[in-house]
Every structure is written in C-alpha cells, then in structure tokens.
Amino acid sequence: MPSEDPLVRDQRSTQQATSEARRDALARMVRKTVTFVVFLALLAGLYTGYKAFGQAIDDAQQDWAVVGSVLPRTDNLNMPPLSEIFGQFGETPGGQDQIYIKILFDEALFTLREAAVGFVVGLIIGMAIALVLAQWRRLEQGLLPYVIASQTIPLIAIAPIIVIWGRKNFDVFPWEWQNWMSVAIIATYLTFFPVAVNGLRGLQAARPENKELMASYAANWGQTLWRLRLPASLPYLFAAFKIAATSSIVGAIVGEISAGVEGGLGRRILREAFNYTTGPDRLFASVLGAAVLGIFVFLVVIGVERLVVGRQGKGAVV
C-alpha cells in the first residue's frame, strides 16, 4: 500500500530529479568550456584570416578603400602575427632579466591589489548606502537621484587630481599614503554604485510573506536583516559584484595610466603604446594580460557566488 501514497511517490520523483539536475549541470559546464575554446580558435582564425586577406591586397599593390580606413591596416606593425604576440610572453625584453609573462604577472598583481582594495572599500560604502536608503524611504527619495547622478561624473578623468588630493589629505592615517591607494579610490568610486543600487533593490526584495513570518516571531531589526533581508538580496548583490569587479579593474588600469603611478598593467600598456613602433607585439601582449585579468576577477566572483548562493540560486542564475 505505501507505494500508492502520493506523498511517497512525490518524494521519489523529487530525489530522481535532483540527481538528474546535477548531471545536467556538469554537462553544461563541459559544453561551456568547449565552446569557449572553439570561440577563441575562431577569433584567432578571424584575426589571421583578415590579416592574410589584407596582405594579399597589399601584395597585389591594390588600393582598397575599406582596409586601412574603416578597418585596420594589416601590416605587421598594426597587426602583429599571433605567433609573435604569444611568442613575446616567453621573451626577455631589453634591459630586463625576466621573461615578459612574468613581468606582466607582477604588474597584474599590482593592479589587482589596487582593484581589490577599491572593490572592498566600494562594497562597504555601497552596502552602507543601501542599508541607510532602504531604512528611510524619505532618504531614498532624496538621495537616490544623486547616487545615480554621481555616475555621470567621469571621476576617472580627474585621476591626477585625486592622486595629489590623496597625498595632501590622507596623511591622517597611521600608514604612509601611497599613490596606488589613490588609484584604489578611483576603483572604489566605480564599485560602490552598482553595489548601492542593487543592494537597495535586493534589501527591498524579501517576499512579504517572509517578512510577516519574521514579524510573527517578533524578530528584531538585526535578526530580520541577517536572516532574511541580506540572504534575499544575495542574487542582486552578486549581479552587482560582477559589474563592480570588472569596473574595479577598469578603474585601476585607467587610474594608473592617468595618475602617473609607477607599476601596474595600466602603466605597462601606456609604456608599450609609447614604444609601439619598436615592439607592437608587446602592446598586444600587455592588452591581452589586461583582458585575462578582467576575465579572471569575473570568474572569481562567479566562483564565490556558486559557493555562497549554491543550490538555492538555481532559479536565479544569470
């Protein structure tokens, strides 16, 4: 008779579905990796193919209006062959005693430190703003427009001023103020905004019946925040963290470039852009380094999201 019980039948199919879902997730991951590799190969093929096409036109001494004006020129100065770009990683540039990939790695770590400090500070500020605005509706009405307007200020544009300002005004701290910390301020500025806006939306996203449940337990503000509103806002927050992680890298790189900070990928890119005519492949290699760093932090956030949100996020994945 027990097999007739619909409750039991229901349970068995649920367990089955769970194990199937796990297998599907694994298959999806394999498929994603394969497509990514295929895509990279396609991209490389496109680059090489276009280059070969352009070279052929050049060889034929034809003047073709599109290549070289709307589309880039294809000579080795403008589009170094992929083999040389990747070969550059293993070479030792003049006046250095390390191979290029190691140099880039160290620069990337420097940039990552600025970005990480900026990200963490931005996260704290963003969450504080979200909490305050979520608490008082009047404040949300009054301040939210300015939080949004703040993003139309290209603060990144005044990185040099911020560096001077940082040196001048932050000597209150027990440690010596350094230029990279000013760059971190720029990363902070780009980071706090998505966290504040999405955090606010997330804190307001708890379902009404769950709020009533907490009220029926006479849970206080802190308990409701910690056990309901914060966990409910996690999917929103992680969406913001993904944007913020990328922005913090952009902020750090651009900050380095315009602030004249020694060290970091941004500085490296600027230097290679300067020496472009003698080593175009090094510029391409350093830009690739920046791309890898950006994707790396993005993947870190996704990994943390999987760990934190875990199985519950199933319905709310990106």
Partner: protein
C-alpha cells in the same frame, strides 16, 4: 484622488531638492576643513566661475567629446540590438554566444585604446568612437538578448495557441519583454560612453576635446578649469541619462505604473 497625486508628486520632488541643498551646503562648508586652500576640490561656485571664464574652450571640447559620445553610443546601440535580434533567432547560437559576450564584457575594453589609435589614426576621433562603440555594444547586446529570451513560457504558448507567426510573437511578447532589460543597459551605457570617450581621449584624438583639457589643466594645477571640463562631461552624461529615463517612461508607461503601484 487628484489632490493626493499632486501632494505625492510635490513630495517626490521636494526630497531631492532638499537633499541637493544639503549636499552642496556640506560641500561648500567642508572645504574649509578638508582642503583650506581650495586647492584640489574647488567650491561649486568657483567651478561655475571657471566654466564661465573658459566657456569657449570648454564648450568647444564638450562639442567634440559630445559628438564622439553620441555617435559611438548610437552605433553601439544599433549594433548591440541587431546582434541580439540575430543571435536570439537561433537557440544554439544564443546559448553559446551570449555567455561568451558576458565574459568578454569583463575585459577592460578601454585598454584597447592604444591599439585602436594605431589602427584608426592617432589624431582621428574614429579610434575614440570605436572605444565607445565597443564599450556600449556588450551591455546592450547581453541585456537585450536576455530580455528577448527570458520570456514567460506560458505567454509564448498562448500566442502559439492562436497560431501566431514567429515575427508576431516577437512583436507581441519578446520585444515588450526585452524593453526593461534594454533600458537598464541603455542607462548604464550613457554614463559608460562618457567615461570611455574621455579616457580614450587621453590616448589620442583631437587635442581640444574634454579629455586633453582636463589633463592639461590639471598639469598646470588649474584645477578649477579641470573641474569645469569634468562638469561639462557630467552634463553630457546627465542629459543622455535623463533622456534615456524619459524615453523609458514614454515607451513603457506600464512599467512605471506597476512600480508606483507597489508602494505599500
């Protein structure tokens, strides 16, 4: 009903105005404490004065940068939407390409500026436009593709039960569903475009654009002029942002209504 709505509207306007007065008051007041010489962050009044003094240079810079921003934004939006429409027609293409675009979106595209300069010419605005286009394209593409595909299954089935054609389903269900996604990306793209243009101008392009004005003024420690140029950039971004908000309200009045209805 009407009088209630008027008081509500008045309230929703008064709060930002009061907050704005407080912010500028604190700014002006805090300068005395933080930065007594008014060296780095000038008072709002000084910035406005510098803007008036340097009106010709700044307005010329704003025109040049504004053109790069608007043209890049326009091309980026068109390409992004077209790509989304194309890719979402094919399920397999969508499932492989869209996640890749999400990953590429994590690349600091601004770092491409020096390469683009070499490709499109150091003094030509085209390299700056290319940066803006690349930066705008990805969020628009990703969000629009998401909006076109993350549709309530039952709405599609309803349309299919009426034997509606694919294009009809797109017009009635998919495109309206994609609207809020698109506008979210558009609002993000407006401020991204200004940042991208100004930063790209550091690397090359015309020397009388806003980016060079900012760096040159800062180099000469004329910070009020630099800030006046930043203010001009902010104005471009703000006009575009609020233009996007206005457009959103015009195109999707139902979205606004549902948000207002959710007040407790």
């Amino acid at each position: 009903m009407n009088s209630a709505r008027i008081t509500n509207t008045a309230k929703s306007f008064s709060a930002p105005i009061v907050a704005g007065l407080v912010i500028f008051g604190v700014w002006q007041g805090a300068l005395g404490l933080l930065d007594p010489d008014g060296f780095v962050l000038p008072a709002p009044i000084e910035i406005v004065a510098a803007l008036v003094d340097n009106w010709d240079a700044v307005s010329q810079g704003a025109r040049i940068t504004g053109f790069v921003v608007v043209s890049g934004l326009g091309v980026g939006i068109v390409l992004g939407v077209l790509a989304a429409l194309l890719v979402t027609r094919f399920r397999a293409a969508n499932e492989t390409i869209t996640p890749l675009a999400v990953a590429i979106n994590a690349v600091p595209i601004i770092a491409l500026a020096p390469i683009f300069n070499n490709w499109f010419g150091l003094t030509s605005p085209r390299s700056n436009q290319a940066i803006v286009v690349a930066l705008v394209f990805f969020p628009i593409f990703i969000n629009t593709a998401r909006g076109l595909t993350q549709v309530d299954r039952s709405q599609i089935e309803l349309m299919e039960s009426y034997a509606a054609s694919r294009s009809r389903i797109a017009r009635e269900v998919r495109i309206p569903n994609a609207m809020p996604y698109f506008f979210t990306a558009l609002k993000l793209a407006t401020s991204l475009a200004v940042i991208a243009a100004i930063v790209a101008e550091y690397f090359g392009g015309r020397q009388d654009a806003l980016g060079p004005i900012i760096t040159q003024s800062a180099g000469l420690t004329r910070y009020d002029t630099a800030w006046a140029a930043v203010l001009a950039g902010t104005a471009i971004g703000a006009v575009l942002y609020f233009g996007a908000v206005l457009l959103e309200r015009l195109v999707m009045p139902w979205h606004l209504a549902s948000r207002n209805g959710s007040h407790e």
